[in-house]
């Protein structure tokens, strides 16, 4: 190659000497980026659910909320580290003068194994996974616990409507799902045709509605309010229309609602038994 075609290439910037101040070194700068991104991630973890999740009306819904917060907070420092190193590398260690030479970039310094870093990485990852596993198993166990005075509700999905039946109230069947507060509700879910997904959003539970199969899932209401039941499985032409309205009401209001919606065959004691949580 003739000397006039030789293109000057920048040598990699020399790393600051070890005795340079920590925050002047790449590791220090990456640490600052990581710290800032972690703080942002943790703040997102605490505040984003207020905007992304609905107001939960059940114990299980609150557990979903708490799980979203926990996992986001746990993931924040990990994601911040990955993105922090990535962004810093892209900016500080990019190849300068790209396109000005046919010469390949110079090799970087050789990297050797780092036992301490490997152990730290494995331990931190292991702890995070174990925490998530224990948390998940505990939540799952609480959702499957049996409650003696639970309210049974039969849920039937059909293209493209939900219907709800109350076996303890003379099989009163309705299009809206009204539930008493402070009560464990056991949903027996099935389908008349194809697979649907029973998803009362604000109750924080979800299960498939399969034809010829009854699947059980439960939720314990703990807050008054309205909620929406949606279908979570793409079930056909009017899947997007397949929703129902619901509400968690006081036990007294629930008793009134039962009477008002045709539970005329019920005796007063029947209504009291179905609507009472004690």
């Amino acid at each position: 190659m003739s000397s006039d075609l030789a293109v000057k290439t920048r040598e990699p910037d020399p790393l600051p000497p070890e005795k340079a101040p920590f925050f002047s070194r790449p590791s220090g700068k990456i640490f600052l980026i990581w710290l800032a991104m972690t703080v942002v991630g943790v703040l997102i973890g605490f505040y984003a659910p207020h905007h992304l999740l609905p107001t939960m009306l059940s114990v299980e819904g609150r557990a979903v909320w708490a799980t979203v917060v926990l996992l986001t907070v746990l993931a924040a420092p990990v994601a911040a580290f990955v993105y922090g190193v990535g962004f810093y590398s892209l900016v500080a260690w990019r190849q300068r003068g790209y396109g000005q030479s046919d010469e390949p970039p110079p090799d970087g310094p050789p990297l050797r194994g780092n036992s301490g870093l490997t152990i730290l990485w494995l331990v931190v990852s292991g702890v995070l996974v174990v925490v998530m596993l224990v948390w998940g198993l505990a939540e799952l166990a609480s959702e499957n616990a049996t409650h003696p005075n639970s309210l049974q509700v039969d849920v039937t999905g059909q293209q493209w409507l939900w219907t709800f039946s109350y076996p303890g109230a003379g099989n009163l069947e309705t299009r809206s799902l009204v539930l008493p507060d402070n009560r464990t509700i056991v949903f027996h879910v099935t389908s008349e045709d194809v697979t649907h997904g029973f998803w009362p959003v604000e109750l924080g539970v979800q299960v498939d509605a399969n034809p010829n199969v009854v699947t059980t899932i439960q939720a314990t209401t703990n807050k008054l309010g309205a909620f929406t039941v949606r279908c979570s499985q793409l079930c056909g032409l009017y899947h997007s229309f397949m929703y129902a309205s619901g509400a968690v009401v006081t036990p007294q209001a629930f008793a009134v609602w039962l009477h008002a919606h045709g539970a005329s065959a019920l005796t007063a004691s029947d209504v009291a038994r179905v609507s009472s949580s004690s």
Binding site: L5, G99, D102, T156, Q158, Q159, W160, L161, T163, E173, R175, S176, E192, D193, V194, P211, T228, G236, L237, Y238, S240, F241, Y243, S245
Partner: protein
């Protein structure tokens, strides 16, 4: 003198831009086709006919009427109007259209002729008249609250989409005409009912009798737009 690499990259950049443009055009075409498929009917929209005002529960409402039928197959025509132009001739169908337009908060009186045979509903809950004035329908001149769930030809079942009246719901079961096959023998059941329309928006209606094919009778005409389903446009 060698050419600058920057110039060599131009064709590559042009290719990327063209790819993005092609993808954007593709997405737009699919969206337009989807929208057209969703909200058009082979024979347009039937706009409800105004017939004056009426008092319902102490409220004076505009009174409008709609008239449509259900047929055992989509091949024929009624009064010179094709039931389902270009449709599958062997599928049962509503006709002459599946798109209806009514004013908001008006009394809508529907007159239907049900020409089809039928059978048992998957869910007997749909055998009850729901959401109409008085929760009744007039079938062949007789007021009824419900029909035999094992002798239903079709149902006219309307519900709102998210964003419309969440409580709006109309279900009218249409009794089957005698016969065990889906051939038009000329017999029909006359069904008349009235309901008060909800607020503005698009409401979906469909049949809840499994008159289709394949999965639980909900394939074919039950899963293809325009036969056993449609929209009620409340304006």
């Amino acid at each position: 003198m060698s050419e600058k690499p920057g110039r060599e990259r131009k064709p590559k950049a042009l290719g990327i831009i063209l790819t993005f443009v092609a993808v954007a055009i593709g997405v737009a075409v699919v969206a337009i086709l989807f929208h057209a498929q969703t909200y058009t009917s082979p024979v347009g929209t039937q706009v409800a006919k105004s017939v004056g005002t009426v008092t319902v529960n102490g409220q004076t409402l505009q009174h409008v009427t709609l008239a449509f039928n259900t047929y055992p197959d989509a091949s024929g025509s009624v009064d010179g109007q094709a039931i389902h132009p270009g449709g599958n001739p062997s599928w049962p169908s509503y006709g002459p259209t599946n798109q209806f337009q009514v004013p908001a908060h008006a009394l809508v009186t529907v007159t239907m002729r049900q020409y089809d045979s039928g059978g048992s509903l998957n869910n007997p809950w749909f055998a009850t008249v729901r959401g109409t004035v008085g929760s009744v329908a007039r079938i062949n001149g007789r007021l009824v609250h419900a029909v035999n769930p094992n002798n239903v030809g079709h149902t006219f079942t309307v519900r709102g989409a998210p964003g419309t009246d969440p409580g709006f719901f109309v279900n009218v079961p249409l009794p089957a005409v005698p016969g065990n096959n889906q051939s038009d023998n000329g017999q029909y059941e006359t069904v008349i009912f009235s309901f008060v329309s909800g607020s503005q928006g698009v409401y979906g209606w469909n049949c809840e009798y499994p008159c289709g094919t394949s999965v639980a009778g909900f394939g074919g005409p039950m899963s293809a737009f325009g036969y056993m389903s449609g929209f009620l446009h409340v304006v």
